[in-house]
Amino acid sequence: MNEQEAYQTVVKNQIINDDDVKRYAKAAVPERKPALRVLKPVTIALAALLLVFGAAMTIPAARAEVLGWFAPSSARDYIGTDPKDREPVPEIDGMVVDASQNQTEIKLNYVADEPYWREIGENFSATLGETFFDGRDIYLRIDFEGLSGYPVFENAWCPSLPADALLPALLAAEDGTEPESHLVLTLPDGKELPAWMAAAERPVDGAFIRSFRERFDPHRSYDEETAAAWREESLAHCRANGARAVADVHIDRPDEYRFYPDNGRTLGDYIDENGYLTLYVRYWVSVDRAEPETKLDVDLGTVKVNMTGYRDMKTRSVAVENGTIELFGDAEISDWLFDLDPSRGVRSCSVDLNGVKLQVATPGTVDILGVHDLQILVTTPDGWSEEQKRVFARNLLFDVKIDDDLTITYGGGLTDNGDGSYTMCIDLGDGIPLNRIATIETVTLTPVLHLTSFPESAIVLKVN
């Protein structure tokens, strides 16, 4: 073949492995699984791993480095980290309630009469940990001991986990179905707050994940035998270490939170005179065949949440140093325009960026958890079509630089103002290590379009 044909062949064959992508998508094993070059006996491998990790944790410098890997950068991260493994943020600690001090007994309501689920049910054990309300979400940490933690990892593909973490136990049950964990927080009169639960990475899990990462060869395909080996190793990990999860319920304003069907009360009505909310915690696991089948149902106990402490959180104001920027030059933007015309596929729009203006509408505030409610008004020239305005706004990202060394790329949070302009609401309650928020001085926003940034056009904010 000639040169062009050779390069075409190479790129088409190598850029992605279509069989792997399809197999991964369709497998009952829902998370990506690496091929193991060498499969060591599971117990020896795990023991060695924990020994090394334990040794590192006892050496001060190594421990600091290990803990640095897991520096919490959100309320969820903070609650999901054991207090002994995190740098304390006293303001948050003052609002946290530790449920483990008043642990009530777990009650097993139901377990499926199958060997696999019976084993989990008979040995079920979990500890309710800390709760925290940050003015927006209620967070609750739960430590599942041993194999009880196994189904929890099913939810661990959530965005709060590092995208490159390989999760150890994201596997189907023995019959090939996919377990799904559920958690609901119930009020004394039975009204429910459905929680979204996700696995929290712990140092042990992090080391476990990284050990797999080191053995992972992205160029090799995985096969059924490897998947089975992976599953066994993950089960062994769960038996030895269980899992930690963080459940959260988005509340926003308790005095405006209503239930369905409406009982005439808001969540605020359930808060006691000391500012605390009492919640019963129920956990169950189902598998989805023709319809959901419950496999396990457990009452985990009672927790209290401090619902008013957040009002005393210190906030720092933000001053605008450079609040309006304009863009220049030409750009090609692509998007799926299904909102405007369902029959169209991906299209490209050519736009002249001259006249595009990005302006700080509200500078937001900074509290102990991050940068909040920063709003940017996006206006485009009058000659643009509605389609171009919409596509541009949807493609726009910001590289948000915190002081000199941390950059977070942010996109979305758009509101159509109805007059051709859009407002992007930027909330960085997740992404900035909590132990450095108190010292933030500058926030710089550089617009990014299709990975091209416009560094000469940057919004600059100063935190007081």
Binding site: T9, V11, I15, V21, D288, V346, S350, H450, T452
Partner: protein, 185 residues
């Protein structure tokens, strides 16, 4: 089984368009397969659980969210690259009669992947997805001239590899030939 077939059909129909959309947006050549896997996994999961009315459109909806999620917690890594020369590099002679086996395909691909990200993106879009240079330039936010330079630079490197490989093969064939002659001798 019907669902598998439907999924395969949707995959085949959307794969190239999705790659074409994703390639200019990735930050590392290693990310593309991870992203594709996650996007199609979520599509299949959704198809299994509650069905998807318009899967081709859904794929791109997932892709946008997955891209934002994928990079949201990653700090931007500034990659220092030597500035592109003003002149096009000497690419050498165009190789002819190239024979590829699995190993050489892998080696060539490793070389392509090890190129700076914009070069990898340009090469993959140009040769893998037949995207013209002017569209590549617009997708990557660089000039068409820069695209051509990057393609040229990558080709020069690959040609050096192919020449070395060809030289080794010829050396091996010579030894085999002389060995067989001496055996007969």
């Amino acid at each position: 089984m019907e669902q598998y077939e439907t999924f395969n059909r949707i995959y085949d129909a959307t794969r190239d368009a999705l790659l074409r959309w994703l390639l200019p947006r990735i930050r590392s050549s290693a990310d593309i397969e991870d992203l594709m896997q996650e996007i199609y996994r979520k599509l299949y999961r959704k198809m299994r659980k509650s069905g998807v009315r318009e899967p081709e459109k859904y794929v791109f909806g997932i892709a946008k969210k997955e891209l934002a999620r994928f990079y949201r917690r990653r700090a931007v890594v500034q990659i220092c690259e030597a500035p592109l020369s003003e002149q096009l590099p000497d690419e050498g002679c165009e190789p002819e009669d190239i024979v590829l086996d699995r190993e050489s395909e892998r080696e060539i691909w490793d070389l392509i992947r090890s190129e700076p990200l914009p070069s990898y993106q340009a090469f993959a879009l140009y040769y893998g997805l037949s995207v013209p240079t002017n569209e590549i330039a617009q997708a990557l936010g660089i000039s068409e001239d820069a695209v051509r330079k990057r393609l040229s630079r990558t080709r020069a490197r690959l040609r050096r590899y192919l020449e070395e490989r060809q030289a080794e093969e010829q050396k091996g064939a010579f030894h085999e030939r002389t060995g067989s002659i001496s055996n007969r001798g």
